[in-house]
Amino acid sequence: MKEGKVILECCGLRKRFGGLMVLNNISFQVPTGKITALIGPNGAGKTTVLNAITGVFPLDEGNILFKGHSLNGLKSFKVVECGIARTFQNVRIFPDMTVLDNVMVGCHAKTRSGFIDALLHLPAMRREETAIRQCSIEVIERLGISEKDTLAGSLSLVGQKKVEIARALASRPELLMLDEPASGLSGDETRQLAEALIEIGQEGITILLIEHDMNLVMGISDHVVVLNYGEKIADGPPESVQKNDRVLAAYLGC
């Protein structure tokens, strides 16, 4: 992968939970402006990689570079401020807040006003508030969510997944990481999702996709990384990964 720039680089990630080696010396790169998929059987360590990148827990060893700067030791909210947004495996929206409020929380990383501004209702804070609202409504409309004032918890699964992606996009990320966005979606809904992801990619946002749906992965990704039992077993364009013996063995058990 010599050509093109790299937005995220993971070098030698290791993580142990008790006696279990969840990540064992994993290194891979995410090229800028492309869709990269991170795949592997259940328990391969895909979500652990995401959690390590977003600072949910510290790594035992290894280094994560985002645009050349190390993310090691950064708190989760700082990682978002750097320009990395994510969604979660089992949809995790804020169910008791409205759709609009959910998405507006997503704007946190790029806005500043604090307790004093809010308490005193200062003009700077009101201007920022208008901007946040406008930006959130734009994202909501772009993702085709029609009910912005209902409680997010009362939406269907598809609706909630859209809200989660909208919330992530509201932070205006350079890298969007999606943890199994297609799980629980019907064929039609998955196709719509694929279109939406390609569109997001065309706007210059790099995507790191964790996914089980092989049609989706092979259909839209430019680059595929395969994990199995905490180790990287393949890395390359989708066509070559599909023919890789170790990948076939891991997936089909032969």
Binding site: S76, A109, F115, A118, E129, S171
Partner: protein, 320 residues
């Protein structure tokens, strides 16, 4: 549509509320009722602060009487023993309370659930013991007397009616600021934090920072109420600031509705006024108090105001 929107703006709601309170104050001739109205105001300030912490950020404190005590005793000791001027002392007390809350907030706010309850409870009890044992400064169990009323220029807030014109503007200001806060970026961050801390953090909310800051804010409001209380009553004793006060304000928050600031106003008013009216039951008044609490919580588990609002919407829909 326009006038519906304006009813939802904090300034308008507070304006209506101010007229209501002013009306009450003018109609009441009995100075004892004015006294109750003033205590309602003091409690509202504490309860609103606590609701920001409990109802919005989802963090429980059973030690808020301690911050109330810090405000009251600092105002009392510094003005009487050391002759400090009253208003600067009040602000100094706010700053000191903020400092104390910040220092203990950093370790305490890392705790969750029961552990947080225990830690705040412990802090409340430690402070209570200090108030009793350090008697050459605090006056010990017999209390501390001789605190002068506050004054602005030649206007001294020395009667129940005059104090009414001091405390209620403070209540309205607190309410205004808090309503602004919960409708802002910070308010959304706090609600996200209550809903799911990990996700809030991964969405860009500085969860640890917010928890400490909202803890400091709610402590500062309790301290303000404490200072005003000390200058109003003119006498403070540890009994007022015991564990039971912490429980009482938590109850007011829950009865009014977690995460509902107007609910806090209602909760504080109801539970302050209720014991006074229950006097007619004489020996059974504590029993009746408990009964009212139980009935409210059984029928309105989400709090009185959100519960009533929900019931109202339901009947409204039925009629249409």
């Amino acid at each position: 549509m326009n006038h519906i929107k304006s009813i939802h703006s904090p300034a308008c709601q507070i304006g209506l509320f101010a007229i209501l309170v002013q009306g009450c104050a003018l109609l009441v001739r009995n100075s004892y009722y004015l006294f109750v109205l003033n205590i309602v105001g003091i409690n509202i300030i504490v309860v609103i602060g606590l609701n920001l912490l409990m109802g919005y950020a989802g963090q429980i404190s059973l030690g808020h009487a301690a911050f109330y005590a810090i405000g009251a005793y600092l105002s009392a000791i510094l003005t009487v023993t050391y002759g400090f001027p009253a208003w600067p002392t009040l602000f100094l007390a706010l700053i000191i309370t903020a400092g104390v809350a910040y220092v203990i907030g950093i370790p305490i706010m890392r705790l969750e659930g029961h552990y947080l309850v225990m830690a705040t409870l412990g802090f409340g009890i430690i402070l209570y013991i200090v108030l009793i044992q350090w008697d050459d400064v605090t006056g010990g169990p017999s209390g501390f007397a001789g605190i002068e009323p506050l004054h602005i220029g030649s206007l001294t807030f020395d009667s129940d009616r005059r104090f009414c014109y001091l405390i209620w503007p403070c209540v309205l200001l607190t309410l205004w600021g808090s309503l602004n806060l919960v409708r802002s970026r910070v308010g959304r961050g706090l609600m996200a934090l209550r809903s799911d801390e990990l996700v809030a953090s991964c969405t860009g909310v500085n969860t640890e920072g917010y928890k400490v800051k909202v803890f400091v804010l709610s402590a500062v409001l309790a301290s303000l109420a404490g200072s005003l209380y000390a200058h109003y009553i003119g006498f403070v004793s540890p009994g007022t600031f015991s564990f039971f006060y912490s429980i009482q304000v938590v109850t007011m928050v829950i009865v009014g509705g977690l995460g509902s600031l107007w609910g806090s106003v209602l909760g504080a008013a109801l539970l302050t006024v209720l014991p006074e009216f229950l006097g007619i039951f004489q020996t059974y008044n504590v029993l009746m108090y408990g009964l009212v609490l139980m009935v409210v919580l059984v029928f309105f588990p989400e709090g009185l105001l959100p519960g009533l609002w929900f019931a109202l919407q339901k009947t409204h829909r039925k009629h249409r």
